[in-house]
């Protein structure tokens, strides 16, 4: 009996999920209609959707039942329905590892990949490469090469990305397609550029000279793709690091020039690359830092987060380079995103002067009291940082007559015993396992640098829980 979507499920209110009571054996039983002719595309599509949903939920399929379902699905290639065909490709990919003899669809996929329907070609390539082994790959080699240089961007991208996936398995075969990939890199399409560049790099990465030549060519030719630019920046940084290239190297100039790119993804990538270079002076960091400073006031949380996170890293080695951003960082302490707020605080800890840390303390205490109890995790986070601020202020400013706020902080923290805190030995420092490792290490570092006694070191307390 054919089981359709139960109308009852759809009507029983917004809480219902038509897939909720799916039972694997029932769905596989339904899949037998794939063998019927004529094929009913709508019903078959529903069933395939249910199978993929089950797989997606983590349902386990045994080899025999998977193989049976797979074979039944291959009958659906007889239908010309586009959505059904696309779902077949998806099913092939999803079941490639759990069904046996999946290579029986090779000829159907090869046919679609070289056929007239553009909407099939890209997905067919990707499905085919999912089930191919080295021997088969050589058999379809000429189709792959043609696809890589195809004018239709989705076909080219699919071929390039699939080739990349196959590098691990068949490096020697894919290496032969380098010229086609090179040609594809001159495409106008921003994703094809990105994919071609990626494949070329993966094929050449062990040959430093080849990578260098490639970079030279692409940095001059002015690619359009922001994704490709990000990749180029990363490759350039890596090459600079490996060759210990100086900052008068054209590679560095290229990265620096990317700070002026129109696309903020590229600008950020460049700033991040410069910041991560092991041998950057404060002067060389300056343009990157000023860009990050701008990002601190972006309306996009992701950009503020990326900026403050990177500034945090700069502050570790060159706190003076970040001082110019202190005001912008202080504005971020009250950011609605807890991660941003915490990062701003920990950055200011390193870059702030004593008077500014004072101001910081006041701001933190007033802001913490505003956080409602709902934001327990965030609260624990902020409390941890407050405590660490106190600790640092005390350790750093002992001689300047600062009030020791520790007892007050300890008391406050003790009142909130629903917070996930553990006590550290006698100094009243509370730690929460919810705070990110980065932040805790930073605070611990500063504390340890100022404390002679190892019994007060925070590190041993931190390690077990993290």
């Amino acid at each position: 009996m054919i089981k359709k979507f139960d109308k009852k499920d759809e009507e029983s209110g917004s809480g219902s999920n038509p897939f909720q009571h799916l039972e694997k054996s029932a769905v596989l039983q339904e899949a037998r209609i794939f063998n019927e002719t004529p094929i009913n595309p709508r019903r078959c599509l529903h069933i395939l959707t249910k199978i993929i949903y089950l797989l997606n939920q983590g349902e386990h399929f045994g080899t025999t039942e998977a193989t049976e379902a797979f074979f039944a699905m291959t009958r659906l290639f007889q239908s010309n329905d586009q959505t059904l065909r696309r779902m077949c490709y998806l099913t092939i990919k999803e079941m490639a590892n759990i069904s046996e003899d999946v290579i029986i669809v090779t000829s159907s996929l090869t046919k679609d990949m070289t056929g007239k329907e553009d909407v099939y070609r890209g997905p067919a390539i990707r499905a085919l490469c999912r089930i191919t082994d080295t021997t088969m790959l050589q058999a379809i080699e000429r189709y792959m090469k043609q696809a890589i240089v195809d004018k239709v961007p989705s076909v080219s991208s699919s071929a390039l990305v699939s080739s990349l996936h196959m590098v691990k398995m068949s490096y020697d075969v894919v290496k032969r397609w380098v010229n086609e990939a090179q040609e594809a890199a001159s495409s106008d399409n921003i994703m094809v550029q990105y994919h071609a560049l990626g494949l070329l790099y993966h094929l050449r990465k062990n040959d430093r000279l080849a990578v260098s030549k490639m970079l030279n060519k692409f940095t001059k030719s002015g690619l359009k793709s922001p994704f490709a630019y990000c990749m180029l920046i990363r490759i350039a940084s890596k090459l600079l690091e490996e060759t210990e290239g100086g900052h008068d190297s054209p590679l560095f100039d290229f990265i620096e020039s990317c700070l002026r790119n129109k696309n903020e993804m590229v600008v950020y990538e460049a700033a991040s690359a410069i910041v991560h270079m092991p041998t950057c002076s404060a002067r060389e960091l300056a343009p990157a830092v000023s860009v990050l400073q701008l990002f601190c006031s972006s309306p996009k949380a992701a950009l503020r987060y990326a900026a403050v996170r990177t500034l945090n890293k700069v502050a570790m080695k060159h706190p003076s380079a970040v001082t110019a951003c202190n005001l912008d960082l202080e504005n971020l302490i009250t950011d609605s995103n807890r991660s941003i707020a915490t990062l701003a605080i920990t950055t200011l800890l390193k870059t702030g002067s004593e008077s500014s840390v004072d101001r910081l303390m006041k701001q933190i205490s007033s802001f913490v009291s505003e956080i409602s109890d709902e934001f327990k995790v965030g609260r624990a986070n902020i409390w941890c940082v407050c405590v660490c601020v106190c600790v640092c202020v005390c350790s750093g400013g002992g001689g300047s007559g600062h009030q020791l706020p520790l007892p007050e902080v300890s008391q406050e923290a003790q009142r909130h015993d629903e917070l996930p805190v553990q006590h550290a030995p006698s100094d009243g420092v509370f730690l929460s396992s919810d705070v990110s490792v980065d932040h805790l290490w930073l605070c611990a570092d500063r504390w340890d640098n100022h404390t002679a006694s190892s019994s007060m070191s925070l590190r041993p307390t931190l390690s077990p829980s993290l």
């Binding site: 959505t83 779902m87 998806l90 997905p123």
Partner: protein
């Protein structure tokens, strides 16, 4: 300073869609950061707990960068390593959300999504392939998914009339 990570096209670790209760509606993991279903679901529960009450877009959780977006009763996540360009991950998230928004005619909510799961499966398939960003333009994604909605006979006639009308106007 962190050592530079290997430049790579493999930038996405996972794409997730959870419902209002934090239950999985869709999940695609592209590497073995969480190799078993059990670990995956534990991860999903954790990130849901830490993100569903806030509107914050981005967080560092379990050592991974998590960018997220919610709408009515759905929560969308794109996960990458903490070394990844956060804006790149946002680009994937926005592409997914905008593509679905077009396909569901702006009804990006649980019920509509569940009635169009094949559209979702195909859309994600066009956006990320094996962890590599395949496409970032939602228009392209919608075009490539090429969903034909199934219509009953009277609707077929209506639709045909509409098609003719629009083709004359073009």
């Amino acid at each position: 300073m962190d050592s530079q990570t290997e430049p790579s096209l493999y930038t996405v670790k996972a794409v997730l869609i959870l419902d209002n209760d934090g239950d999985r509606l869709y999940a695609k993991y592209y590497d073995d950061t969480y190799p078993t279903v059990k670990e995956q679901k534990a991860f999903e529960k954790n990130i849901f707990n830490k993100t569903h009450r806030t509107d914050s877009e981005i967080a560092l959780l379990e050592g991974l960068t998590v960018v997220y977006k919610s709408n009515i009763d759905l929560f969308f996540y794109v996960i990458g390593s903490s070394h990844e360009n956060e804006l790149m991950l946002m680009a994937v998230l926005n592409c997914l959300f905008d593509s679905l928004s077009q396909m569901l005619r702006k009804n990006v909510e649980r019920r509509a999504l569940l009635e169009n799961m094949e559209g979702l499966f195909l859309a994600v398939d066009e956006i990320v392939d094996g962890g590599v960003i395949l496409e970032s333009d939602p228009q392209q994604v919608v075009h490539r998914v090429a969903l034909r909605t199934f219509l009953f006979p009277s609707q077929v006639l209506q639709s045909a009339k509409e098609q003719i009308k629009w083709s004359l106007l073009r």
